[in-house]
């Protein structure tokens, strides 16, 4: 692996492994279909009972919204923080310091490689589900923007999870912290409920946190809202999160080298 090619090689290898493990991919897709059916069903009934509109979302819009939020969630390894924390806490990550590539960079590339095939599969299945059960996307141009937004959403989430798990360099155990992180994305990221449907104060809190870049942004676009500024916001959050995760890992690795794993 040359210095220049390690991100592509790492991500590509991880992606090929996911594609090769068809059983696991089938479980992911099966779970995705169930989640979408449940949540979209719930919201469709709710929108129907409220005169066909909740917080500006029609039945069609809310279905495409749910399809997107669930794709960004189901395609990820939900226990990434716990897995990372275990590797850091046990010192197993020390071996990775010997590689001629940054630990964080390799880990991010590998995780992104693992997520992208699952995201693509969920995206295709989700589009079919939404098209068949609710109807065509409300605004195809906005849906086109949702595609890069989906990739940015999972990238933001993966980087944030690394930054979050990086505290294991100091406290050694991230235990069940992933539960809490996941729930922040569920509510403040708009995964379970569109941010416009939250009470005003909570919506304002969510608007200044990075979680909305991880789920809400692509879903808002797929729901037919042509708002390219959401992509700009995602790129900005990605840069901030990369800086944060980088700072955490640099300090953590220094500590590991000084004190040992």
């Amino acid at each position: 692996m040359t210095r220049r090619r390690w991100p592509q090689v790492t991500a590509g290898t991880a992606a090929l492994r996911v594609v090769a493990e068809r059983g696991s991919l089938a479980v992911t897709l099966g779970f995705y279909v169930i989640v979408v059916a449940v949540l979209a069903g719930l919201w469709r009934v709710a929108v129907g009972a409220n005169g066909g509109d909740i917080a500006g979302y029609s039945v069609v819009a809310i279905t495409w919204y749910v399809v997107c939020t669930e794709a960004t969630t189901v395609s990820l390894n939900t226990r990434l923080i716990a897995d990372l924390g275990r590797d850091i806490g046990s010192g197993a990550i020390a071996v990775e310091l010997l590689r001629p590539a940054p630990v964080l960079g390799v880990r991010l590339a590998a995780e992104l490689g693992r997520v992208l095939p699952r995201l693509a599969a969920c995206g295709v299945v989700g589009a079919l589900l939404a098209g068949l059960t609710a109807g065509a996307p409300p605004r195809p141009a906005a849906l086109a923007l949702a595609v890069p937004s989906l990739v940015l959403a999972v990238a933001c989430n993966i980087v944030a999870q690394h930054a979050f798990a990086g505290v294991a360099f100091w406290i050694r155990d991230t235990g069940s912290a992933w539960f809490l992180y996941q729930k922040l994305v569920f509510i403040l990221g708009g995964m379970l409920i569109p941010l416009e449907a939250l009470p005003g104060w909570l919506e304002r809190v969510a608007s200044v946190l990075p979680f909305r870049a991880m789920s809400y942004a692509p879903a808002r676009l797929a729901a037919g809202n042509l708002e390219p500024v959401l992509l700009v916001e995602q790129v900005a959050w990605l840069a901030v999160l990369l800086w944060g995760a980088g700072a955490v890992f640099r300090a953590g690795e220094r500590r590991l080298q000084v004190l040992g794993g």
Partner: protein, 255 residues
Amino acid sequence: MRGLLATFRNALAEVRANRASFLSQVVVMGVNDVVWVLFWVLFFRRVGSVRGWDGESIRLLLAVITCAAGISLGLLANARRVGNMAVDGQLDGVLALPVPPLAHLLLRRVEAVNVGDLAFGFVMFAWAGSPTIQRTLVFIAVVLAAATVMTGFLVLTGSLAFFAGRNEGGELGFHAMLLLGSYPVDIFAGAAKVLLYTAVPAAFVSTVPARLVENFDVGNAFLLVAVAAIFAVAAWAAFTLGLRRYTSGSVWTRP
């Protein structure tokens, strides 16, 4: 029976050995469950009621399913691991013991984080279930029945791994049961609703028991007990038949 009780006592002692970790995991699960309650509060605040379900009835449903999950995934933690253990050949130790293998397996491990579900469920019932002596007794009875359905279903789907050689079905069954059980079955219609009363009996781990607490009905109570018995027997049968195809994890027995 004494052997099984001793096994369960050991499992409890093991999980309590690290008290700080045990308590922190219980608290984390409690916070996790609170977020679900928050979601439903926000949801019903926005949409009013949906097909007869409102904030109060959904809190009762959450109390039932968190208690059932606390028993099934917390106190009988290996219920969701049967498939992986079968595939990985981790049952050798159990088979050598003079105790019923499935019962021993289920009682041998307690998962601290899911014990938090159990605690949360009782707190939720005390808060939202308008507890009287009669309602509390019904609540405990339906929770036990719901936990039996859930455990039976998890063991049944996990035992398919004995025959398939893979555990994807068990994993999917686990996720489907937990997810579908967290929502009132009335939001579904047609074939999906039939599915939730049959192949993935999520209705019997949340909606049906919650309705029984709210409005006890002898017919539905018998139905719940019958379904629990069916899944318990089916799980035992699938596991016992599956054991005949089990291959040890020992390297000496691998082809």
